[in-house]
Amino acid sequence: MSGRRIFARPARFAAIAPYLWMVLFFLVPFAFVLKISLSQTAIAQPPYVPLFDLTAGWEALRAAFAALSPDNFKLLGSDDIYVFAYVRSLTVAVTATALLLLIGYPVAYGMARLPTRWQAVAMVLVIVPFWTSFLIRIYAWINILQHDGLLNQILLALHLVSQPVVWLSTDTAMYIGIVYSYLPFMILPLYATLAKMEPALEEAASDLGAPPWQVFWLVTFPLSLPGVGAGVLLCFIPIVGEFVIPDLLAGSNSLMIGQTLWLEFFTNKDWPVASAAAIVLLMVLLVPLLLYERVQKRQLEQGR
């Protein structure tokens, strides 16, 4: 009896640990942001009208509740800047994720088909860029893409172009940067699913008369869908909120939502609007997550 208790307690604690984590590092900050988003700007420190001054008594609290307003959210809907920023973020994220899948899938597939000892080497090669700071790697791209940078030098030397091409501050540069930075996040989950797939399944398909392309489309690809889903989410969600890469590599005429947030927070000092924008972004990102979870749940139920 007493022995069982000793084991039961840490187990119970372990079970609530993830919820504790959620509450501390997600729900509490989220509540703060939500609170700020319903407030108004003020020339103060912090720069918004304080709510819920618990020392001021019941009446003050009632007044504070009455003062809560969804004005900031209304502004987001009415001002084109924000709508454009959301649309652009989603467009960039969809395009970049599609590119990542197109590039990452063949790489992961090739890795999974390597002899076992070479797979470990390939794995290290995929992860090695993480050993250098992300920012330094993006600055390196600026170096490569600039007017007299490595890329233009090579293109000129090969006589592929007669004039240096403008790469920097274009969407192309931004996509290069995003695809480069997120590729490992696409490759690794894909590789994990493809590597554990039984090779006999592909052999069975070809034994039953499927030429190689049918083996891929009818067996390999459908069975790798969990990896595709994980890779797509792992890339899509952070790309929507991406700030550094578009800020450093893309032009400044159209902004992604991450950049807009930054402007509102630090240039305009409008924390309430920025908070509202952040909350809408979160809602937008929750949709694909919930969809993915539903699909996965359905697959699990089917498997039963």
């Binding site: 006999a200 399944l201 070809s206 034994d207 039953l208 008369g209 499927a210 459908p222 498997g303």
Partner: protein, 390 residues
């Protein structure tokens, strides 16, 4: 099983194979096939003919090359040397999907994302069969392997035995000229394995199809196959019927690999008509029948199966008895292993060696059963012995 059974019909062969074996020609001819992985010669010059309608077993320990040979027949590996002729046509370099051969995989390799029905229909769809025909053939296959009612299940909703049936149905659906089975029963438990062995044999007979099964289980090979090829280190050591393999193994290694055996090393001393007299170190002088293929003088091993050795309390006395008991060895029971149907006695011979005798327990209450340390005579006739090159 249904009465309308699919027959092997080369003309209606879903795979579109146009290889018609001519009369008298083997369905499959393997000619000097070899395969090397790095420096390891997995298959080392194998030649073999298999007739249409045969149930052939490739038997051997793991790593002997039997699976590699099977994979070359299926097309997953290309031989480095030699030819593989199916109905007279060389298919050694043909891709797997171009061969009228199907395989049942060791762990079945059922497509986990497809239902039982779609697994079975997979090969038929690839052959471009009409929808209605596919539905009919699938129903036929489902009935053949007794899976009615499970068509919509996914493989992970099936038991091991059911999965095995789906794999079999999927491989049979295209009516291949040749069906390859890679350790088809290894994943089943003993009881199920035995009943499935019987069903596989029955199916093969009824369909008149040619089966090649790879197995490491000699009992399985003996039970099912009409002919067995024993492989060792990439070579075929012997190709024979189960009986011949057991009673007339060609080498000492085969004798030891297939079933239990007593082996006594010795030297031939004398020839007496059709008998050889061989002096052994562990069992004294033994009289054995002369082997069919004459052998010269030198060192030999005398091999006797445990069930050929009879035990008695004292040496047989009658004239006739003495004639059959021409080899009688005195000894003491050193170990008793009761196996239900039989009991295996280990007898420590006075001459020094140890001999194993397997005795059928034909009487339920056997008051005459031998006990430990009891003195016995182990005897056998010259014809019970096989002489093998040492």
């Amino acid at each position: 099983m249904t009465d309308e059974l699919p027959r092997t019909d080369a003309a209606a062969n879903a795979a579109g194979g146009d290889a018609h074996p001519a009369a008298g020609q083997p369905l499959l001819r393997i000619e000097g096939v070899a395969k090397t992985f790095g420096t390891f010669r997995a298959v080392d010059g194998v030649s073999l003919d298999i007739k249409a309608g045969e149930f052939f077993a490739l038997l051997g320990p793991s790593g002997c090359g039997k699976t590699t040979l099977l994979r070359m027949l299926a097309g997953f590996e290309a031989p480095d040397e030699g030819r593989i002729l199916l109905g007279g046509k060389d298919i050694a370099q043909a891709l797997p999907h171009e061969r009228p051969i199907n395989m049942m995989f060791q762990n079945y390799a059922l497509f986990p994302h497809l239902s039982v029905r779609d697994n079975i229909a997979f090969g038929l769809k690839r052959a471009g069969m009409a929808r209605a025909d596919i539905a009919m053939r699938v129903a036929e296959m489902v009935a053949l392997v007794k899976l009615e009612g499970l068509e919509k299940r996914k493989p992970d909703q099936l038991s091991g035995g059911q999965r095995q049936r789906v794999a079999l149905a999927r491989a049979l659906a295209r009516r291949p000229q040749l069906l390859l089975l890679d350790e088809p029963l290894a994943a089943l438990d003993k009881k199920l394995r035995e009943s499935t062995q019987g069903e596989l044999m029955e199916l093969q007979r009824r369909l008149g199809m040619t089966f090649i099964v790879v197995t490491h289980d000699q009992e399985e090979a003996m039970t099912m196959a009409s002919r067995i090829g024993v492989m060792k280190a990439g070579k075929l050591a012997q190709v024979a019927s189960p009986r011949e393999l057991y009673e007339a193994p060609r080498s000492r290694w085969i004798a030891e690999f297939v079933g239990d055996i007593n082996l006594f090393d010795g030297e031939s001393k004398l020839r007496d008509g059709h008998r050889l007299i061989i002096g052994t170190r562990d069992a004294g002088t033994l009289v054995v029948a002369e082997p069919r293929e004459p052998i010269g003088a030198g060192r030999f091993a005398v091999a006797i199966r445990p069930e050929k050795i009879k035990l008695s309390r004292r040496a047989p006395v009658s004239e006739a008895g003495r004639e059959t008991a021409i080899n009688s060895l005195d000894g003491v029971i050193a170990d008793i292993c009761y196996l239900g149907g039989t009991t295996t006695y280990k007898v420590k011979l006075d001459a020094g060696g140890m001999v194993q005798a397997s005795v059928a327990n034909s009487v339920r209450l056997d008051v005459h059963a031998y006990s430990l340390n009891q003195h016995v005579v182990a005897w056998f006739t010259p014809d019970d012995c096989v002489v093998l090159p040492s």
